[in-house]
């Protein structure tokens, strides 16, 4: 289990040997109204494979179908067509939940309970014996830094505090798979940093993490692989590092050079049939990639990644 950290460092070839934790085949969700009329095609034929030990990020603007995907994987929604499998079982099978921790988009917790009662309640739902429950609850409250306020009702909590207790709730069963829907919303910069560190720590403990976010920075910092969703379609899928590698551009980074040296380099490039487009500080390219994808999809609707295989750039 703990060897996975090293595996994710190496290229895709080795990931095929580890266990598939989440698998979707042609997963489609159409929201209909009461009369069965089609309202929104929220997810279109998603094919995805997430393996043990990786941090997978679903990236996409608001309304692109990230939450819908997560709800389908958790059995909160039923697919219109296609299949969602978690640990090889149908997403609607409740027994799979024994090994899952879920942090919802917003903290849907009982506001009349306090932090201790909340964790105790969810612990009971996992059929945990009381001694273990108490120990686990105390550890988690400590971990998310709510020890001082653990006896206060959740309705008195600030948004950030609620988010923390929700996170603790998601980890009460020491899950193998952690599903985080927009984990950093509502957190201040320090909280965001802590959350990211925690995600990495969980991965180091051998857990698989599926998170979704519309914040590029979150995803870029922690995810091993990402999928980019736009209007319900999977537009990009791959390792973060290879996705950001722009194949038809070679970037040279050096210590500060004199004007003469720059001129010389440009001459060398020209001699080899190249052209210097830019010489300076590189940009945050995920944002660029993201915007590029959105521009592309608007120009050529329908083009997308299929089959769950890693694609390398474009």
């Amino acid at each position: 289990m703990h060897s996975s950290t090293t595996q994710t460092d190496s290229p895709p070839a080795s990931t095929t040997q580890t266990e598939v934790v989440i698998e979707t085949r042609n997963l489609t969700k159409v929201y209909r109204d009461f009369w069965g009329r089609q309202k929104v095609r929220a997810l279109k034929a998603l094919d995805l494979e997430i393996r043990r030990g990786e941090i997978f990020g679903l990236l996409g603007p608001n309304g692109s179908g990230k939450t819908t995907t997560i709800k389908l994987l958790l059995g909160l929604l039923f697919p219109t067509s296609g299949q969602a499998l978690v640990f090889g079982r149908e997403a609607t099978d409740v027994t799979k939940n024994e090994r899952i921790g879920y942090l919802p988009e917003e903290s849907y917790l009982y506001r009349f309970l306090n932090a201790e009662e909340t964790l105790d309640f969810y612990g009971r739902l996992f059929n945990m014996p009381s001694a273990i429950r108490r120990q686990r609850a105390a550890d988690l409250i400590e971990m998310v830094g709510l020890t001082k306020t653990k006896r206060r009702q959740l309705k008195e909590y600030s948004k950030g505090m609620t988010r923390r207790i929700a996170l603790a709730q998601a980890l009460i069963n020491d899950p193998e798979l952690v599903v985080l829907d927009e984990p950093t919303t509502g957190l201040d910069p320090i909280g965001t940093r802590e959350m990211k560190d925690l995600i990495l720590r969980l991965r180091d403990e051998g857990k698989t993490i599926l998170m979704c976010s519309h914040l590029l920075a979150d995803v870029q910092d922690v995810c091993d692989r990402i999928g980019i969703l736009y209007q319900g379609e999977l537009k990009e899928l791959g390792r973060v590092d290879s996705l950001l590698k722009v194949r038809d551009v070679t970037e040279i980074r050096t210590t500060t050079l004199s004007e003469a040296a720059k001129e010389e380099i440009q001459q060398v490039v020209r001699r080899h049939g190249g052209e210097v487009q830019f010489m300076g500080n590189p940009t945050t390219t995920l944002e660029e990639l993201f915007l590029h994808i959105i521009r592309e999809s608007e120009a050529h609707p329908g083009r997308r990644v299929r089959g769950g295989a890693d694609s390398n750039g474009h």
């Binding site: 909160l76 929604l77 409740v94 939940n97 024994e98 879920y102 009982y110 009349f112």
Partner: protein, 630 residues
């Protein structure tokens, strides 16, 4: 009290009820599976529909078999906490307030204050508690769905069955607690409300008559107590010291005479007999017609669906109750009979005066019949008659054989050669030696005035065994409310698994009201209500036709009656499915002072359970097959 339906015997009831229940459950299950299959077909096509249906059913076995008590209890506790958060205590505060106000308005001086007080507390408690659990149970799950707190719950290894069961148990526990507290408060309220005593002084008493035999210089004295709660009691004190306080407003008081300081000091105790639980022993009723032959039913005097049958006065016609299990151990001194008889007059005569009737005891083996009691009866007046063990005074004694007229011929019991008229030639009869045969005795009711009629149904005449504990009976009355509450919780939670909160509440209320009138629905379904089925009745209403005249024959009538037939089956199905909420209401038993028999409790307990199981299953399936995140 007028009990209009037979009290079922549990042992007789349970077999048939279980069979009907299984049939109904089977039908409902089949309809449910078919419906589920159709919905799945519409959504996913017939091929996968079959797979889905089988999958859901297989899952159901696992989900219901694998219910974890810890999870259910956690969810039940959550429901209780939620209820407390929703300020359930307010309901109790309202209750206390109502009682305080009622203390002013309920008149303890009315002719039957116990009935007034008991009826009041039972009704108030049941309305409050039922309304409260209706709100709680119907609103809880929809609130969890709209606030999405349910998302965090169902993504744990929680079965839908546990969510439904946990809710039902939680709200039941909540309601139970509330009922216990309200019950205790009510008990205190009733006892205190009825509690009073009277005073009796020397001036209140007077010698009955100067000529009465004096015993040691003393005479029999009589008088009246002081007026409290708008009544007085008549007191008689005999020279021997033996005294009697007459009953008034359904109770009496114990009198203590203290003569230690010369002049007697009279002291009256708290009311006695106001709160009681009579234990009626019912017999089996048959009739004898004017010719003296046995019949199942008497005469019908109009309303043919009324359960009472009538016997004609001044003829051999009789209503006959056969009692079994009559032993000297149970009734050592004789048979205390209580009856409330319907009187139907073909001419009014003196309305103030009752109609004369008589009671006889008959030995079912030998046919010896002793007419022991002649009485005067008014419509539905409860009469108490004591038939003593040693019968010294009687108006007639004869041997009357029972005549059974069947299509194959006539038969008498005892047979003509075994009739022994000598049995009747005694001066005095002993109940157990002469009239009871193998624990069986018959009580014959006759009407003595020609052209008047007595009407009686099986529960109208009964023997009164030793009273049961009132406090226990009071608790049983609350158990009736409890059963109603559990049913409402069940229906409320079930409806809330697929309806929004307010709609679920209305649906539950609909089931409640429909269930209250399920008897009427059944009658309507089988056309027992005058004016035909619902459509026919509507036509009559619109065209202002009389309820009894035949409708004009024609296409319209045919169509209406055909439609009625379809509607009738529909109504019947509904009335058969909805629980008869009214039958779970024991308030009348408690208020009128009748013990709620163990049989009755068992029957109701089992029928409530019989309703709850399918309601729970339906709730489970609805929740299981719905998308929680929609």
């Amino acid at each position: 009290m007028v009990i209009e339906s037979d009290i079922p015997q549990f042992a007789e009831w349970v077999g048939l009820a279980a069979r009907n229940w299984l049939i109904a459950l089977g039908c409902l299950a089949a309809i449910g599976v078919l419906f589920g299959f159709l919905v799945a077909t519409l959504r996913h096509g017939p091929g996968s529909a079959l797979r889905i249906t089988v999958g859901v059913l297989r899952n159901a076995l696992a989900d219901i078999g694998g219910i974890s008590p810890r999870r259910v209890l956690a969810l039940a506790r959550l429901a209780v906490k939620e209820a407390i958060r929703r300020r359930v205590v307010v309901a109790f505060a309202v209750f206390i307030l109502v009682l305080l106000f009622a203390g002013w308005f309920l008149d303890p001086g009315s002719s039957d204050p116990a009935r007034l007080y008991l009826g009041f507390v039972l009704t108030t408690t049941s309305y409050l508690v039922l309304l409260l659990v209706l709100f709680l149970s119907a609103l809880s799950l929809p609130a969890d769905i709209t606030s999405r707190t349910l998302h965090t719950v169902v993504t744990k290894p929680v079965r839908s069955s546990e969510i439904v069961l946990g809710r039902m148990l939680g709200f039941t526990a909540m309601g139970t607690g509330l009922l216990v507290v309200m019950g205790l408060t009510s008990y205190v309220f009733v006892v205190r409300g009825l509690s009073h005593t009277h005073t009796l002084g020397d001036d209140d008493l007077a010698a009955v008559s100067q000529t009465a035999a004096e015993v040691g210089g003393k005479v029999t004295q009589t008088g009246q107590t002081s007026r409290v709660h708008s009544h007085r009691h008549k007191v008689t004190i005999e020279p021997s010291g033996y005294h009697e306080v007459d009953s008034a407003n359904g109770h009496s008081h114990e009198l203590q005479i203290d003569t230690s300081r010369g002049a007697p000091v009279y002291h009256l105790g708290p009311p006695q007999g106001a709160l009681l639980a009579r234990v009626p022993v019912y017999g089996k009723l048959r009739f004898r017609d004017r010719e003296g032959a046995d019949t199942e039913k008497g005469i019908n005097v109009g309303d043919e669906w009324f359960y009472r049958s009538y016997i004609q006065g001044g003829s051999p016609a009789s209503a006959i109750w056969t009692f079994t299990g009559i032993t000297p151990e149970r009734f050592p001194d004789g048979l205390p009979v209580e009856m409330s008889i319907g009187v139907f007059r073909t001419f009014k005569g003196n309305i103030e005066k009752g109609v004369f009737g008589s009671l006889s005891l008959r030995n079912p083996k030998t046919g010896l019949t002793v007419e022991t009691e002649v009485f005067e009866s008014r419509e539905f007046e409860t009469k108490e008659v004591y038939l003593p063990r040693q019968i010294k005074s009687f108006s007639s004694a004869q041997v009357i054989p029972r005549r059974l007229v069947t299509p194959s011929g006539e038969q008498t019991i005892p047979s003509p050669d075994q009739i022994n008229p000598a049995l009747a030639e005694k001066k005095q009869f002993d109940l157990y030696e002469d009239l009871v045969a193998e624990g069986e005795v018959e009580v014959w009711l006759r009407c003595l005035e020609p052209a008047q009629y007595f009407g009686a149904g099986q529960p109208d005449l009964y023997l009164r065994a030793r009273d049961a504990s009132f406090a226990l009976n009071f608790a049983k009355g609350y158990l009736g409310i409890w059963l109603q509450m559990v049913l409402i919780v069940g229906f409320g939670v079930m409806f809330s698994t697929f309806l929004s909160g307010p709609v679920a509440m209305v649906a539950t209320l609909g089931a409640l009201v429909g269930g209250m009138f399920s008897g009427f629905l059944t009658d309507l379904a089988w056309g027992k209500v005058l004016g035909g089925g619902p459509i026919e009745a509507l036509i009559r209403l619109v065209t202002q036709q009389n309820q009894i005249t035949e409708m004009d024959p024609g296409l319209r009538t045919e169509a209406a009656q055909m439609l009625d037939r379809v509607l009738q089956y529909f109504l019947w199905a509904i009335s058969a499915i909805l629980p008869p909420f009214g039958e779970f209401n024991y308030a009348d038993y408690v208020a009128y002072g009748f013990d709620i028999s163990g049989d009755l409790m068992l029957v109701r307990l089992f029928s409530a359970a019989a309703y709850l199981l399918p309601v729970f299953l339906a709730g489970y399936f609805f929740l299981k097959t719905r998308e929680v995140a929609r």
